[in-house]
Subunit: 348 residues, 3 copies
């Protein structure tokens, strides 16, 4: 799509420093954007890269604007504005409303006439598909599910029975929303399946990544609140609740019945045990394991960065003998008549 | 479905304390079950919650029964009995035997007339589908696979060539059973693919979670014994064997040729290296990494719980300098003429 | 397939010690191969197992050849030669060129007449499918994608818009190549989606495992170079580059914009943070977490092997109090007038 800097400035509330009639049709990085492309500077620490850009315009904040050698779109939040400009310039392919002849739609399903159901999709009984939805190729939407307006199931998505998705959601390929939770009652060394009666409720403006799985509740629902962003290969177990506008990076796993507050950020491969609660505004660094509830906003970690393997092996040996080492320390203290005063002393 | 407390008591061998003619049609939690719902008390530590329940009946054990303010179904294993009651009250949708016109079935495939093949499913040559099976929408079953009676492939499941599944299995959406194992021979800085000649054999009463992958064997088969329960996003590599009635929580990963005993429990994200053996009745706590065989039943762990990030960073610094710290301890011991006697002393 | 030892020796450049007319039709392990099967000895440490083999022939190197009680195919790299022999004896099922009537092919798509498009596959507009490709059942190939000659998408694979795959690639079921990267700009406690304009470029001879996800680039492409082998359930985020002939074991996760060198090996569940670089020939052991760039070839680890849970709990307690322990050590040193000289002393 083509537009002008003047149109971008008006549409996205930027101050334009430069010629409003300049035409742009694409976006690019500071280093690679050409004269028809818009770029952006979100992090002032890269301001030195500005001087070499050949972009048609740079989106940046007022502090950095003076350093731009090319037209500037000045705005408080350059990254968010860049996102909107890129969305304008790279629209999703237009919908082809209607049901592809190679799709299957069950009885009593109600598909809005402005929605598109692509080839090889399977829509169950009594499903409701909202306005301007895209149900991509190979998707399976089971009976009684509800898909909100403008929601996009990219391809090969599974939506279980009675699952509801809000408006403007995007679900990437391979995601499974509403598979059975993992519930079994032990009995004489075997397991009896506990039916998973609940479902999954997903709010508006949620994005769910490729091959992520969100299980239906055992009793009551698994809930993803509005604005949550969920990356790929994530596991959200039955009866979890993810608070509004939280973001979960790839490979996060959350065990059953845990509750995540609003605006939390879970780094890649963070893991949470079941039945715990994180308050609002908690950040968990990648690879960390949370085994207890957190009631204080902040940043939490248990990530162990790698070492050269020989060095690491020696460290592991030391870790495994830490108890002995602490006892030697205590014996040494006694030997020299030294009395430790920290909280450790009562625990040896 | 509707039934009476009397019928439940007879069918599931409970002692009924209350009116056998009371009608129930659903299940619910202690807190939320209404007068038409059955609830249960599996863990005596929640017995204090009993007094507020408004359920139609509570399934519980003899010790807790006196505390119930509502009719009681008394039984030795309330959780397992609850599971069976819920299964009765929430039956799977009835099968529609036959092959959907939008499914594809290969030559010489034998589909039992009581089985259902749903829309967009693809059944390969010479596949055998047992009685009362459900092959859900979008499933792919490759040639020469065998699906046992009453097995349910929910949707978008992949079953590879010659894979066999037992009776009464449930496979959740997106699971891949029988993809190629990861086998390559190094040659001059590149890799030569080693054909994966084996297959996967799955016993009766196995459940396999969403987007889990179980690879076919390189030579010989990957084996999942009867009654094993496997959660979502789990990786079981080629030539593993999972012993009967073991349970694997989400995101477990097991490298090639490892053998898990019977009745083992692997917590979420537990990881096992290849070519090791766990004996029967091993429990691995979530997030733990098993690098050696285990020959003694018990509970094993290497999980590291998180701290506030600043505190954790300081701990990591200490861990990385543990070797130096141990050497200082030893030097100090020498300095003061103290002789440590533990097993550490020989290793410094 | 049947062949003779003589034919194998000629075709794969082996020295044959034995009767060239012996017919073989299969492969097997040292222990289980029968008289019609070929086996191999790749690791000289198993040479003692040779004496009991009943195989038709053993592929091994010159050093071990004398110990073989059966005909020997002597070659420098027995494992690679075994891989080629097995590939010969177990060919993929023959292609059935053409487009299955239950597949869907978009306008302007160009499918080579020697390629096979299986049932329930969906091929988008303007896709190009090369010679002798196999697009398996349930695959979705979006518009403008390019599939190189002899590439095999096993089943239910997703290939996003404009993604290109090289020749002779194999993609296992459920893999998602070209889903959106995880890019959002924060704005007033919510997230604005950043369009993912780039795509994924996959070189020749790449294998990609089941349910693995490789995201398209935000700006510029995610790149998988030739000969890379990627196992199951792996996450490769937007704008990563994986160097030629690297091998990634199952459940590896790599955050955005990281660059892996050539011939690297990442063990199972290794994790890499974003925006880092590994030089060529780096090995990361399983379960390890790499948080910084690595510029020196070698082996790296942060894996923590499990202990019995009670022992481990005690160790964790010690780890959490390491800071206090170090301070006690320092106080003790001062108390006895001992001066440590290592690099630790400046950091307390």
């Amino acid at each position: 799509m083509k537009t002008t800097l003047g149109e971008l400035a008006v549409r996205f509330g930027c101050e334009l420093r430069g010629d409003p009639s300049i035409v742009v049709d694409s976006v690019g990085s500071l280093a690679h954007a050409g004269p028809n492309a818009v770029t952006f500077l979100a992090n002032p620490k890269y301001v030195s890269q500005l001087k070499d850009t050949r972009a048609g315009a740079v989106i940046l904040d007022a502090k950095s604007a003076a350093a731009s050698p090319v037209p500037a779109l000045v705005v408080a939040n350059p990254h968010a504005t860049y996102a909107r400009v890129a969305t304008l310039l790279y629209p999703e392919p237009p919908l082809h409303p209607g049901i592809h002849p190679a799709a299957t739609v069950g009885a009593q399903a109600v598909v809005d006439p402005t929605a598109e159901i692509a080839a090889q999709a399977s829509i169950g009984r009594n499903v409701r598909v909202g306005a301007r939805c895209f149900i991509g190729p190979g998707c399976v939407v089971e009976s009684d599910a509800v898909i909100g307006d403008d929601t996009r199931l990219v391809a090969r998505v599974y939506i279980g029975r009675r699952v509801s998705l809000g408006a403007r959601c995007i679900v990437q390929p391979g995601a499974v929303i509403g598979g059975d939770g993992f519930g079994f009652a032990p009995e004489k060394g075997t397991w009896v399946k506990v039916p998973q009666i609940g479902t999954v409720t997903v709010g508006d403006d949620v994005e769910i990544g490729a091959n992520t799985t969100i299980d239906r509740g055992a009793l009551g629902d698994t809930v993803i609140e509005e604005g949550v962003k969920i990356d790929n290969l994530i596991m959200i177990a039955h009866n979890c609740r993810i608070g509004a506008h939280s973001a979960l990076a790839a490979c996060v796993a959350i065990a059953g019945s845990s509750v995540i507050g609003k605006r939390c950020i879970l780094g890649g491969r963070a893991g949470l045990t079941g039945h715990i609660t994180l308050c609002d505004d908690v950040v968990v660094l990648g690879t960390s394991f949370i085994s207890h509830s957190i009631s204080k906003p902040g940043v939490y970690s248990s990530a162990l960065p790698s070492e050269e393997a020989g060095v690491w092996r020696r460290i592991v040996g030391r870790i495994k003998r830490l108890d002995a080492m602490a006892k030697r320390q205590r014996a040494l203290e006694k030997h020299v008549g030294f009395s430790a005063t920290d909280q450790d002393s009562s625990e040896d």
